[in-house]
Every structure is written in structure tokens, then in C-alpha cells.
Symmetry: D2
Subunit: 164 residues, 4 copies
């Protein structure tokens, strides 16, 4: 029976997933990543390395930022990698990493509703991506909406907010 890897890396870039309400400014913004708290809540015992590359909205992602994500994936000693990313340009960054043909399983995920907001899909998506990163063969994927999409055949439908 196939066995799964014994560790994983989560690369954090921000996105809706990690936004937090700033009561003074009255808007959603970035403070610290919720990932450490989430891994505790999820009772994860798998050794997971957390790496915060950026905490930005994915609409602000430049080509340079995408190269940073690729560099982080390349440098990671782990074979299983989850990239937490804003959904708006997730497919674009996945293409940059996918084209590099790393011998690793890299799974992009994010959230349509922040972890800190009622009814969030963040926890589900992170769990989904962490399993995909362990169980799928080497390659780059988007894990959203309960589906695994290959990096070269995925786009976000802006009107419904779902990936296809």
C-alpha cells in the first residue's frame, strides 16, 4: 500500500484566507498569519514547516512575487508543499510554478471567505490541500471547491467564485 510523506511545508502568501478585521480601520487587512492557530485547531501532528513569503492580496501579486513563490517551492526540502494564495490570481502563480517542473507536489489553495469570518471555507480548503500535497504524484495543482485541478487547466470563474 502506498505510503504518504512524513512532512510538509506550507508557504503563506496572504490572500482572503488570512485576512483579519481591523476594528480601528474598519476593514479587512493582514496582521499575522492565522496558520499557526489553524494547525493547532486542526490537531495536525504531521511535521509542517510554515514559511510566510508575503501577506498580500493576490491582485497585488507581481511577476517578481510569483518568482519568490517559485523560489520558495524550489528551496523547500519537503516533497509536499501547500501554497496559501489569494484566489484571484492563484491560477497565474500556479502556472509559474508548474512550468518549472519541480519534482515535488505543490498544491495551491485559498479561501473565498477569510478564516476569521463566519462561514469560512479556509479550514476545509487547507485540509484538502494538505492531503492532496501528500497523496498526489509530483506536479502542481489547485485544490479548491473539493476538487483537484492540474495547474495547466484551471481558471477562476469570477461570477461564481468557483474554479473550473
Amino acid at each position: 500500500m502506498t505510503t504518504t510523506p512524513s512532512s510538509a511545508r506550507i508557504i503563506v502568501t496572504g490572500g482572503t484566507f488570512d485576512k483579519k478585521y481591523d476594528a480601528i480601520r474598519g476593514e479587512l487587512t493582514f496582521d499575522e498569519s492565522h496558520l499557526p492557530a489553524i494547525l493547532e485547531q486542526a490537531r495536525v501532528t504531521l511535521p509542517v514547516a510554515l514559511e510566510v513569503v508575503r501577506l498580500i492580496d493576490s491582485l497585488q501579486m507581481t511577476e517578481e512575487h510569483r518568482q519568490e513563490v517559485l523560489a520558495a517551492c524550489r528551496a523547500a526540502p519537503e516533497r509536499s508543499i501547500v501554497v496559501v494564495h489569494g484566489t484571484d490570481t492563484m491560477a497565474e502563480t500556479a502556472k509559474v510554478v508548474g512550468a518549472a517542473r519541480l519534482d515535488k507536489t505543490v498544491v495551491f489553495t485559498g479561501a473565498m471567505i477569510p478564516y476569521s469570518v463566519q462561514g469560512s471555507d479556509a479550514l476545509f480548503n487547507l485540509g484538502f490541500a494538505l492531503a492532496t500535497a501528500q497523496a498526489m504524484p509530483a506536479g502542481v495543482y489547485v485544490g479548491m471547491n473539493g476538487r483537484v485541478f492540474p495547474w495547466n487547466d484551471v481558471r477562476k470563474d469570477r461570477s461564481s467564485g468557483a474554479f473550473r
Copy 2:
């Protein structure tokens, strides 16, 4: 590149995952499954068949109940199956299904804290299991604590509540 299945089945048996606080009786009990609401919250677009076999505490699971779970797995037309189960005897039911050597991927999951309680691991675990059920080869697994365990090498550590 490997592609994942186009549908899945979630077989619900109850467990801590699905417990709800009954304000009149003042205790956690079973009402209706939270699964339909959870799949909506998670914005799942994968076609998922939901099948409620039982809504019981896994300490009340008898051999007959486990055979019901096996029968449901066997009868399912889907290749990817998640079984939501109480954690206390999850490993036992996984052994019953595992021994049947079905040509399907069956992933048991549950929660240490109910979905309806603050700080629950339910959403994460369901996402984790749904991905595992799609991405792993045929076999029976327990998906808990961010790890995938084969059915014949897993047990719950009662003192920490974690699977090993």
C-alpha cells in the same frame, strides 16, 4: 498527469463530528447531520452523494453497524468514499472495511471537537479526507491529524486524542 475522480460519496455514521448542542436537554446529541451545510460552506462543486447510515456515538457501534458501513461502501457506485465516524472506534470499523479489499478508496475521518463547537477540527478533517479519497490509490485509510494512515496500521491514542 494523474486526474482525480469526478464524484465522491460521504457516508455519515455520526460521531463527535456531527454532534449538536441540545439547549433544552443541556447536552450534545444528534439531530440532523451538518454535512449538507458543511459542503455548502466549503463551496464544494464536486458532485458528492451524501448517505446517512447512522447518527450514533462510535462507542455504540456494534459489529452489525460496522457491517452496515461496509455494505454501504460496497454498494456505492463512486470510487472515492469518505466515512464520517466517531474517533473512538474508527480504527475498528476501518479494519472491517479494509479486510474486504474493495476496489475503492475509502477514507475514515471524524472530529475531536464537534463542527458546532468553537475550535472544531471537523471542517479541516473533512477537506483532508475528501482529497485523500480522490488522490490515493484503492485502499482503506484513516485521515486524521493531517496524516493518512493505512487501515491495518492505525490506532487512536486515548490520552492525547491523536492517531498514530
Copy 3:
């Protein structure tokens, strides 16, 4: 022993209290008021009339809008009135209503964090205001931060977000 009124009115104007995350637009906005759901969650059995005057950010409140709030307070048959209002200009609208010297108890409240966001003060503040509206003599008050402020001696400290 003093008895409290047998009914109350909640006048909704929007504000942070009632903002909801719009997953498609990726921002907090107004949809429907959360008040009906909140009164059910709070298990309120007091007859409460709900009146939605506006669903706007209080920074967008014009003098005309404030006159609408005053008119709604004046027209209300109930003696106990809660006005749910954005915090930024709550004190200004309270002054407009206070100067009218109605023979009613009107309590302004709101939230620094939306009801729909983790860690919200909305439920607490609504309970606080509803009690104040029943228990205080006629007058206009701001009920925030666990304190009752008279309308003519209150302001929001923008740096801390607290009323003084």
C-alpha cells in the same frame, strides 16, 4: 419594585454591526440585516418590532438620514428603542435625537467588529442596549463598551475605538 416595559423597537441603520462578507466582491458590505437571526439566537421573548431605516456605513450618514432616524423614533409606539448605528458618527445622530426631547428611552449601539466576524462585540452590545432601553428613564443614550453614556456627553475616541 420597578417593572420594565413589555415591548421594544430596534431601528436598524447599518454600520459595522450588520456588515457581511461578500465572497464574490471580496469585501464587507450590506446584504440583509442580521437582526432577525440575532434575536432568535439570543432567545428573546420580549416582543420586539424591527424597523430597517437604512443599511449604510455611518460615515455616509447625512443630516437627512439622521432626521429619518429621529422620525422613526418619534413615530414608534414603543417606549424603549434601540438604534443600531455605525460607531463613527453614532454620537452625532444621538445628538439629533437627544435634542428632540422625546418621552422615550432611545439607546444607540453598534459594533467595532461585525456580527459575522470572529470575536464580534455585536451580540453583547445589542443585549446591553436592549436592557438599557428598558431600564433607564426617558432620554437618549449611547450604550457601548459596557457603559451607558448620555447623548450630550459622549464621543468616540478614534485611536482606541472606545467611547468616552
Copy 4:
């Protein structure tokens, strides 16, 4: 215009309000009181003294325990007191304190659903009680369901869970 007191005391006795899910034992139990976290979440700036007398289910309250609550109310330097109490015997303890005719405003409250469980009425009720304790004349009250009940005319309807 009437002014409200400049401080308050919250006396904690446990009850459903403060129950927390114990993931290992799989049941709702008492750990530490949630009151400090709740006062922070509610952004309370009123000086509030917190006093934990007991953390028990109100069905376990003995006459001796009720005398402890009375003694704590009597000893409190504050004029405004909230007692967080299980709902099942809240009316009984309120009668013990009410009969003592203290020159203070004492408001009993609790929750039908724990603070730590989705859909809880705890925050609303605490806000309601804290306002009642400041705004009502000396006396002993139950503040539940958005209503203020005098201690000598209140009972819990077990079938609906509401006070009358």
C-alpha cells in the same frame, strides 16, 4: 439625567454559560471561566471585578452554595452585580439573594447554549445583565430572553427553556 455606576462586579458560578468542550473526555465540562476573554471581546471599558465562586452545573447547587453567592453579593463593594449562573436553578438562587434585601442591584443571567458553542446566547445575555445591573434600581432580577424579571416573580419553563 440619571447617571449609571462607575464599576460593576461579575460573580461567576458556572452553568451552561461557561461550559467548554473537553476533546479527550468528549463532553462539556468546566475548565477556566470564559469571562475574561468575553469582557475583552466585548471591548468593555467599565471597571469590572471578576469573582469566580464556583464552576458548577446549577443542578448541583446546594443551599450552602447559594449562601456563598449571597455572601459574595453582600461583601461586594460594587453597587452593580451580575451573577452568571446555570439556568435550571437560577430562580432559586435569585430568591435567596432577593430575600436578603441588599441595597444593590443584582442581576442573574446565564445561557441556554455555552459561549463556546455556535449560536450561543451567552454574549447577548451578559451584555443585557451588565446594563440591567447598572440601570435598574436596587433589587434582585433575572435577566434572560431580553427581559428583566423580578426575583420574586420568575421561573424557568423547562419545556421551552425560556423564563416567565
